[in-house]
Subunit: 319 residues, 2 copies
């Protein structure tokens, strides 16, 4: 079936994406419990916290305590997210617990950049130039470009592949100036505009131009097409994905209250494993972690696979 | 992008699939209101009721009143479901309102047949032979074979494509005996076992053997892979699908409480329309009908597209 990879690398973003958007306060102990449960699933990368201004995002005021508190498992890389110098400083204090990597994050939509980051495109490029310098000065490698709104935008509508290419070009220019080589490219469907056709077009055009870049997809299931988009990525040979256990998280963007955020990790794992693509993740353990996440946030999460479970028990009963 | 069709034909099964599984009583007026709302969406086929034994399925005790009560729209075919002679008789009373077609319904899994229909495979074949005769005697055309459990089974595990082919062969033998020609083949993922890889394999093998059959897919979103499976169908050129507005319905089979049933019509329409495949359906009107369905059943339906809406308003605001 086309270029399906034999192995995929799934980065779990549930804790960071999920707890930020929940209405009720989540205790530090619960956040740590979920991270520890995820550490037992076989997932290789977990984004554990957002090192943002506690005045702006009170739900992550305990980010440092969460990072200090979870139990690292061997072979698992733990990451955090930050947007500015203060965030970087906080991250540097956890060099022993976190895998620190810098990313050049740009938006393919200028309108999204203005609304979400309060900067125009030039301003964001400038900010990323400065951040890249600070990362390198602190000994944090910068090997990745992240493109937000790569498939469409609630504020400016369709985003052309040409805009995505220009955005990557901007990121590569920042990297070249700083003397670093970019290996990883994340294409994010920040507002749920992707279709398999758009995924195919953008991935093909990016590869045609920069075959050396390793593409990862950050897909949202805002309109229910997330897993179909992931499948199209797999079909094209994409082998890196972000996902969130249970479909934790949501879509904070205009007009979409209650819409799901990231694709659910267990649906992606089920899709892969049932098609013979190895994820290294124990789906039963992952579903257990998803049930814990549901208990913690106190609401039903959008993942269907969380409710229906794996096919394993059915196969065993049939045997 | 491969063999994507330019037009698809979507059969709306929300009323029939959905109201049967809801716990609370749904009034006849509400059932009719949803059918009438769906008639205004541009959908061409609506399955409006299940003509089953009211002692076994009390929620469809009012099927005759529903069929008598909705307002037929020009160009829309209304269908109903029945399983026996008594159901056929009730359907025949509505020849002026319903499009009556007989189907030879068989299961690719013998275990499912026994559990769900209380018959072994031979018994089901015999029952379909009798039903086909009665249909033809009543002037109801029989041009379709439906294969249940075509991608896997909660009671017997994986279902091989060879089993699907043998089941179709059984159906064709019944048709040949009765002197009718089968044109339509429905492959149903009754218990949510399909993956895109299984869809590709089964569709390809069936086509290889009977290229003249027009395949439709009846997909369930039990584990969140339904829209990815529909996309794979589209990629293979399949142009007929069943779906249920809002993802109405559910999965009555062992071990899956709360799991979604049919794929949500609006997610399928969004997938198609955003990739340039015409459905003839007004997605905004369909989402309105889905919201009505949610009010009627009094619970949140699983469709993400129902919550997030179309991209139209975002595009208009951007323009």
């Amino acid at each position: 079936m086309s270029n399906l990879p034999s192995v995929v690398d799934i980065a779990e973003e549930g804790p960071r994406e999920g707890f930020q958007i929940e209405k009720g306060a989540i205790s530090t102990a619960d956040k740590i419990a979920l991270i520890d449960a995820l550490s037992r699933t076989g997932v290789k990368r977990i984004q554990v916290a957002s090192l943002v201004n506690p005045k702006l995002v009170p739900s992550w005021a305990d980010a440092d305590a969460v990072i200090a508190g979870f139990t690292p498992a061997p072979g698992v890389a733990y990451t955090a997210l930050w947007f500015n110098e203060r965030g970087l400083e906080r991250a540097l204090a956890f060099r022993d617990r976190l895998t620190l990597k810098g990313s050049i994050s740009l938006s393919a939509s200028e309108a999204f950049c203005r609304k979400n980051l309060n900067r125009d495109r030039a301003g964001q490029t400038e900010a990323m130039r400065g951040q890249t310098e600070r990362h390198l000065a602190a000994g944090v490698p910068v090997t990745r470009i992240g493109v937000m709104a790569a498939f469409g935008c609630n504020y400016s509508g369709d985003v052309s592949p040409a805009n995505v290419l220009a955005t990557i070009q901007d990121g590569l220019a920042i990297a070249a100036e700083a003397g670093v080589t970019i290996r990883d490219l994340s294409l994010a469907d920040t507002m749920g505009w992707a279709t398999p056709a758009r995924v195919e077009r953008v991935v093909s055009e990016v590869r045609g131009r920069w075959p050396e870049l390793v593409i990862s997809l950050h897909l949202h299931d805002t309109r229910g097409l997330g897993i179909a988009n992931a499948f199209e990525g797999l079909r094209l040979g994409v082998a890196r994905f972000d996902a969130a256990v249970g479909g934790l998280g949501g879509c904070p963007f205009a007009g979409q209250p209650g819409a799901p955020g990231n694709i659910a990790t267990e649906e992606l794992v089920l899709l892969c494993e049932e098609m013979g693509i190895a994820t290294g993740i124990d789906l039963e353990a992952l579903i257990e972690a998803g049930r814990l996440a549901e208990r913690i946030v106190g609401r039903q999460l959008p993942s269907a696979a969380l409710r229906a479970g794996t096919l394993t028990a059915f196969r065993q009963n049939a045997a």
